[in-house]
């Protein structure tokens, strides 16, 4: 999958990347990774291992304190500014808690994905150009909830809200989608649906996708490539079909238990 002709170019490259928080806590340390264009990568690790920090460093929400990250050949700026905004516009993000404006319509929420492409006054006054609305609508179609376009986001179920979250990311027409524990607030059935959506979008549109997961069965099932983090360092990097229980034990620093699986382990 990663070697589709013409797609084997580096999308994201970490070089000695590290994050030390102001309180001295080390979030990431000495990360060297290359993620190819079009890859679907799952990042696993116990909580506090640095999964979120890794994702958030890619779009600069958490600035690096060491090393650098390149996205499509552009170094992620450490400071706020036009350059960083331009980069973020190309990177969609999906959050565990959906992060929708519950009072606003689904469509308005998805249009937020277009902020970087319209004048501030138009976006703030909710006077979106027709072309932008069209993009948002087709993003909603892709996740199958276009019928809810004018419903208040807060009235949807959790799974539907996460689809709106994905549609917002899609509306950006991004090259990369970062999903930070996208199914952690969802029930098992909905979790699979959302993961299927992400995988389908990755395949159909070739958007490089990085998903943080803490359920091992989901990681194994959807991760074409699995990266294991432990205490801010990469301790595993391999294909999802080959990852063994022993690998998971190494990543977690303990024997994986019931809580590490979405459903009862088959074995």
């Amino acid at each position: 999958m990663t070697d589709k002709p013409g797609t084997s170019e580096a999308m994201i490259r970490f070089r000695g990347a590290g994050v030390t928080y102001p309180n001295g806590v080390v979030g990431l340390e000495g990360i060297d990774l290359t993620i190819q264009r079009g890859e679907f990568v799952v990042i696993v690790g116990s909580s506090g291992a640095g999964k979120s920090t890794l994702l958030r460093s890619i779009n600069g929400l958490t600035p690096l304190t060491a090393g650098e990250i390149e996205v499509a050949g552009v170094a992620v700026p450490r400071r706020q500014g036009r350059e960083l905004r331009r980069l973020r516009a190309r990177i969609g993000m999906v959050f565990q808690d959906f992060r929708l404006v519950r009072r606003l319509s689904v469509l308005s929420n998805v249009l937020i994905g277009r902020v970087a492409y319209v004048p501030t006054w138009r976006s703030v006054l909710n006077l979106w150009p027709r072309a932008e609305v069209e993009l948002a609508m087709s993003a909603l179609e892709r996740v199958g909830i276009v019928d809810k376009a004018y419903v208040r986001a807060g009235q949807l179920s959790g799974g539907q809200q996460q689809r709106v979250g994905i549609a917002r990311a899609l509306a950006q027409a991004p090259e990369v989608i970062l999903a930070d524990e996208p199914v952690a607030s969802l029930d098992p059935v909905t979790s699979h649906q959302v993961m299927e959506d992400l995988l389908r979008i990755n395949r159909e549109l070739g958007i490089t996708t990085i998903v943080n997961l803490h359920f091992l069965d989901l990681a194994r099932r959807y991760g074409q490539r699995i990266i294991g983090l432990q205490q801010g360092k990469v301790v595993y990097d391999g294909s999802g079909s080959e990852v063994t229980d022993e690998d998971f034990r190494r990543i977690y620093g303990r024997r994986p238990g019931e809580d590490d699986f979405l459903q009862e382990p088959a074995a």
Partner: protein, 259 residues
């Protein structure tokens, strides 16, 4: 398991607080020459005033409509102008969204100054600038509204869920877009409620300002009082009561619906 002993009653503290409050009250009464006996002796004058004030002069009612409208106009202009200016003032004074520390501290102090000075002071200030009249009143109430709304609203903005603004940032949004799309949509209902509340205050405020010449119902009240037309004064007070209660009812029901 043994039951816990009841905590000791703080009798000393209670008595102490009462003693302090009583001392302060007596001291204040002495300071302004407040005495119950004098009050009783002067009751005769008061009752004469009351007798002259009844019945209310209903024939005067039609002549109140114009001034009432003027009062409402002053209050409305003050509220609208104030409500618009209050938005940026409140946002810049809300810690999590304020762009930097310097802006925050400057704006905070600006708000404090606005709030410390009473609306009457602003009315005097604007009266020297544009002359006594409704315009000075409306300007004074604009400042007053900025003070009221920005204080309440900035506290609402400080309490928002900052995850949403971050999501706007993550899409490549600018600071303005973060505020306008991520922060403010969470607090528009509160904002509307504060604007309504400010309008209520402004209706009352514009009557007070009328007393010092800003026009409207307050001015009529003052001229009738100065002419000893107490039956008309009663009429004015009654109608003010009705209008204020009416506005409060409408405002309260709108705010309930917004909550």
């Amino acid at each position: 398991m043994s039951r816990p002993a009841p905590p000791p009653r703080q009798l000393g503290l209670t008595l102490g607080v009462i003693a302090v409050l009583a001392t302060m009250t007596l001291w204040s009464a002495h300071g302004i020459g407040f005495s119950v006996s004098e009050l009783v002796c002067n009751a005769a004058g008061g009752s004469r005033l009351l007798r002259e004030s009844w019945p209310p002069d209903f024939a005067f009612l039609p002549r109140l409509i114009g001034p009432f409208l003027e009062t409402l106009h002053i209050a409305l202009i003050g509220t609208v102008v104030g409500a618009i200016i209050a938005i940026p003032v409140a946002v810049l004074a809300a810690r999590p969204v304020s762009p930097n520390w310097l802006t925050w501290i400057i704006d905070r102090n600006f708000m404090n100054i606005l709030r410390t000075l009473p609306d009457l002071f602003w009315a005097m200030l604007f009266a020297t600038a544009v002359g006594f009249g409704p315009l000075a009143g409306a300007l004074a109430l604009s400042v007053f509204s900025v003070a009221v709304i920005s204080k309440l609203f900035s506290e609402s903005v400080e309490a928002i869920d900052m995850h949403l603004p971050e999501a706007v940032r993550a899409c490549g949004g600018s600071w303005l877009q973060m505020v306008g799309l991520g922060a403010l949509p969470q607090v528009w209902p509160q904002y509307a409620a504060y604007v309504m509340y400010s309008f209520e205050l402004n209706v009352r405020g514009s009557m007070v300002l009328g007393l010092v010449g800003a026009g409207g119902i307050g001015m009529i009240l003052e001229t009738q009082r100065a002419n000893f037309e107490y039956e008309r004064v009663t009429m004015i007070i009654l109608s003010v009561l009705v209008v204020v209660l009416l506005i409060e009812q409408v405002s309260a029901s709108v705010r309930r619906r917004l909550a």
